[in-house]
């Protein structure tokens, strides 16, 4: 049975292909169109999935969309009705969009699918899954567990914003839910907006900013904005929010409560913004922990699966892990809406078609490497066409040359094998650096990524060495767990360091691997496994042999506002537009100084800021 899962039309559209229950391909449309968070129908991603599986469109049994448009419209109408006459401005803008297109999603989908193959009766093959059913299916059916408790958290789907339940074999039972407008995701987004970042993409930045601040406003949030109960259920006081009726997240009362207007994106970040970030982060963690504890009290399982945009909050995930209410946790790597494509397909296979499920040994996501790959022949050809100057090396030599460049503190573009699915680069489309270098973080942020200097980088570490460097002794292959650098690897603070505040704390080397140690000694860890990414594992092993350090800085291969690179040409363009000094694509090794100067690009202003 072949099932194509689709998520689209809101943000991060994606396609995923399931063949007899196995995820054979998945990719986000933005990687092909080069438009960040592209919400359009994932035509190119769908075509890629079919090509990867070498099947024709007519061989697809079902196409499953990841949410139900009628239910969403129902929520829209009931919300407008509940707040009438407020919300007319929003209604005036929303209704034409719905009446022209979104309400007729079935025919819109059918028309897009016809562009892929006009001979297929797509309408007969179209199914729709609930938004949170898709998230829950992506969390449980793709997990390594045969039974588990499930928690999904995001901004909002149709009605649901939070759901909890239990999965066993090929069944899924979501028994509790919190509905719109009460949403932990929207609460976080409100603070994302208030601290001057873009809703739906800036949430990572708020999480990264939080360790610079003190949670001074946490009590205020809990007192006025959130009515939080012992079991983790909550209600928001809507008097402070504008998203039900207006075009922004918050209103004047919210601004008055927190003492000022939202930060303009061009304004400097101040200590107050860091304190706000720390506060909303702490409240989020408190809500999530109460939810997981109450789920654990039900005694249904020792395993927990998570998905939904809020499950990308790896700091909160680390807290759940260390809370030890569950023995094992697994977070869907594409926890956001893109992963809904995988979940919708899995839900159709197991729940709709009733096909049995055997829990996979590791998980069903294949290390996240579900995207396109290029043979050495294709890479050579494509780089040659792009005018690149490169040397082809054998497998050992490419590893040794890369290690040499890393030890020389060069920024290395690393392009190998199948592209990752989900928001993280996991050593297939990555920029790598030496984590021992104290200047690596600011240098990568400012010269290579063109992004804010406060943003932390994540370490990739050999799985077998993770406990030697971090307070974690388990798998985190998808960079979804935050844990501290172990005490013996930390550097003692200098007198006077304690008096520093905010961003000033950034430049103090606080461990043997300062480039990946955040100001609170935390790190967002990726454990690297030989069975899912052998070449990256080989590189880390060789780097360890040379330096004694089994850790590398691993950041996504893109600049701020750009989708992660997909093809060798994308990688070469990014290489030529930034201060990446070495590029390794397959077995091709490229030095920046060997490249024709005429191919240099102005990349800094090439993408709209996120």
């Amino acid at each position: 049975m072949r099932i194509l899962g689709i998520s689209a039309f809101y943000h991060d559209s994606a396609a995923a292909l399931l063949v007899d229950g196995k995820i054979v391909a998945a990719a986000q449309e933005e990687r092909f169109t080069r438009r960040k968070h592209d919400p359009r129908f994932p035509a190119r991603a769908s075509r890629y999935c079919l090509a990867e599986a070498k099947i024709k469109a007519s061989e697809i049994d079902y196409v499953v969309f990841y949410e139900k448009p009628f239910l969403k419209f129902e929520r829209l109408l009931e919300t407008y009705l509940a707040f009438v006459p407020r919300g007319f401005q929003s209604f005036r803008k929303a209704i034409p969009v719905w009446l022209k297109e979104k309400l007729f999603q079935k025919s819109v989908l059918r028309n897009h699918l016809r562009e892929i193959d006009s001979t297929v009766d797509w309408e007969a093959k179209l199914l729709f899954a609930d938004h949170h059913q898709s998230h829950a299916a992506s969390a449980f059916f793709a997990s390594p567990f045969s039974e588990a408790a499930i928690l999904t958290l995001d901004g909002v789907g149709e009605w649901t914003t939070t759901s909890a339940g239990y999965g066993r074999d090929n069944t899924l039972d979501l028994r509790r839910e919190i509905n719109f407008p009460h949403s932990i995701g929207l609460l976080y987004s409100a603070f994302t907006y208030y601290t001057g970042f873009k809703v739906n993409s800036g949430e990572y930045k708020v999480m990264g900013l939080a360790p610079y601040g003190q949670p001074k406003y946490a009590d205020l949030i809990l007192e006025h904005l959130v009515d939080l109960r012992d079991d983790g259920s909550f209600r928001l006081d809507l008097d402070y929010f504008d998203y039900c009726t207006g075009l922004t997240m918050i209103n004047g009362r919210f601004e008055a409560l927190f003492g000022g207007k939202p930060r303009d994106p061009s304004e400097r970040l101040e200590q107050r913004h860091m304190d706000l970030a720390a506060s909303v982060q702490q409240v989020t963690e408190e809500i999530v922990l109460r939810l997981t504890r109450s789920l654990a009290r039900e005694g249904l399982s020792q395993n927990l699966c998570l998905a939904g945009g809020v499950a990308l909050n790896c700091v909160a995930n680390g807290k759940i892990l260390r809370d030890r209410t569950f023995e094992n946790i697994w977070v869907q790597p594409a926890a956001g809406d893109a992963g809904g494509a995988v979940g919708a397909a899995l839900a159709a296979y197991h729940q709709f078609a009733g096909r049995p499920r055997t829990a996979p040994a590791r998980d069903a996501m294949a290390g996240g490497y579900l995207g396109p790959s290029f043979s050495q022949f294709e890479i050579r050809d494509r780089l040659g066409q792009a005018g690149a100057a490169f040397t082809e090396l054998d497998d050992d030599a490419i590893i040794q040359s890369t290690v040499k460049a890393l030890v020389a503190e060069k920024a290395v573009g690393w392009f190998q094998g199948r592209m990752e699915f989900g928001p993280r680069a996991l050593g297939a489309r990555s920029i790598l650096g030496d984590p021992r270098s104290p200047s690596m973080q600011s240098s990568l942020n400012l010269r290579v990524k063109f992004r804010e200097s406060f943003r932390p980088f994540a370490p990739a570490v050999l799985r077998e060495d993770v406990a030697d460097w971090f307070d974690l002794d388990g798998d985190s292959p998808y960079m979804q767990i935050v844990a501290d650098v172990v005490h013996r690897r930390r550097r003692p603070a200098n007198p006077g360091d304690h008096e520093l505040f905010g961003i000033d704390r950034l430049n103090i080397p606080r461990s043997e691997i300062p480039a990946v140690t955040h100001v609170d000694y935390s790190a967002r860890i990726q454990t690297v496994h030989a069975d899912t990414n052998k070449r990256f594992h080989d590189l880390l092993t060789a780097f360890k042999a040379e330096t004694g350090c089994p850790v590398l800085v691993n950041t996504s291969f893109n600049v701020r506002g750009e989708p992660i690179v997909c093809t060798p040409e994308d990688a070469f363009r990014c290489f030529m537009g930034t201060d990446i000094e070495v590029l390794v694509v397959g077995n091709c090794f490229l030095n920046k100084e060997d490249q024709p100067p005429s191919l240099k690009l102005d990349y800094k202003n090439a993408f709209e800021l996120d």
Binding site: H11, F70, S90, R92, K93, A94, L99, L103, Y243, M249
Partner: protein
């Protein structure tokens, strides 16, 4: 026509018959908005859309 059939099936499944007149009014009002405005620019706040 199949759209109306599916919409009614949805209302029946959800047992929200009280939505029918609201749907009708909204469709008329919304239809007017479409006719008078023409623009289908979605606001940037994603929550409702």
């Amino acid at each position: 026509m199949s759209f109306m059939r599916e919409l009614f099936a949805f209302i029946r499944a959800r047992r929200k018959f009280w939505l029918i007149p609201i749907f009708a009014v909204m469709l008329v009002l919304g239809g007017l908005l479409v006719l008078t405005k023409g623009s289908a620019l979605a606001p940037f706040v994603y929550t409702l859309f």
